[in-house]
Symmetry: C2
Subunit: 199 residues, 2 copies
């Protein structure tokens, strides 16, 4: 059958690389793409190439951007003394959606993971250190994820920032707003208790 | 932000055309594609074009295929006197997975839908009639979906087949195998009762 032909297998392999897409979804997407009029699948292909070429890394914060430096780094209204360090561009999008944060960002593009051979030199840590040395940065907020690797990276960054006399802080972890205590997991509850603040 | 830039918007629009993909999933896919190394997104793009070019419609059954005529139409072991008519190539894949059907197929590429201006002439019905006239076809099994449009198309096809003295049959509708009666909807139950067979 045509689904096993090499060109279709190649397309399925590409589709399976998308986050959360397994064999079944890839097949569904492939069948859809193959039944579309050729000009639409060609437009898809061209759109992907065009977007990939138009978007690069901001030379300062390493976030994805279509202008250099990125809109956030260029914005004179942002507070240049605070840098929020995140793992991935998606985290910047999530924080920006809230709209409450007015500082700058720095995207590490990963976390320290010795088991996978990812050391600090493979991440955008040197560029962060360069930034805090060159500019008048007062606080670095570490917003890596709460995985083991995210925590290790946070501790590593805090140590490095201390070398340059810069205050490193970690975002608060606790019970989500609007979430009942009964729905929070044990670790989150423990963190919420440990991180209690005076009223 | 870069997610609102025209090239990314264009990519999001293409991604949203995939079945079951909304704004959120499209954003997740786009972000992933944009963070991949350029050679991987270029491979994706090339794979899509290559697959689209390699796959065409079988000149006989109108199913998607990488060889002309398709593997099923070419197979000498298939029963050429029986044609199963389906709406889409996905239906052929579904029936072939079962492995029990040994006849040929015919893909309509849609159903009659007067509200959307889709008449019989927009579907692969003329090519089906040509096939049954040219070949020694004894039975046409109509396996369009059980939507209003699918049923209308089935009735239309049965009438046309009668003109050429060919037996048109409809696949059975009833309670799914292994499914309890309590889970079947009213229409399915009614169909199951109407379609009862002597034991």
């Amino acid at each position: 059958m045509f689904m096993q032909s090499p060109p279709v297998e190649r397309l399925l392999e590409s589709l399976r690389r998308l986050p959360g897409v397994g064999r079944k979804s890839a097949e569904r997407y492939a069948l859809h793409l193959l039944t579309l009029p050729p000009e639409i699948s060609e437009e898809f292909s061209a759109a992907l190439i065009a977007a990939r070429r138009a978007i690069g890394w901001c030379p300062l914060c390493k976030n994805l951007t279509d202008i250099m430096p990125c809109a956030i780094c260029q914005d004179p209204k942002r507070d240049c003394t605070t840098i929020c360090v995140v793992e991935r561009p998606t985290a910047v999008l999530a924080i920006e959606k809230g709209g409450g944060y007015r500082g700058l960002y720095h995207v590490l593009h990963g976390v320290i993971n010795p088991l996978e051979g990812i050391g600090p030199e493979a991440l955008q840590i040197d560029t962060l250190i360069e930034r805090v040395q060159k500019n008048d940065v007062k606080e670095v907020i570490i917003a890596t994820n709460t995985t083991a690797e995210g925590e290790v990276t946070a501790l590593y960054l805090a140590k490095r920032m201390a070398e340059f006399g810069i205050q490193a802080t970690r975002i608060a972890h606790g019970v989500p707003m609007g979430g009942g205590l009964e729905y929070a997991d044990d670790v989150t509850l423990l963190r919420a208790l440990e991180g209690r603040l005076p009223l």
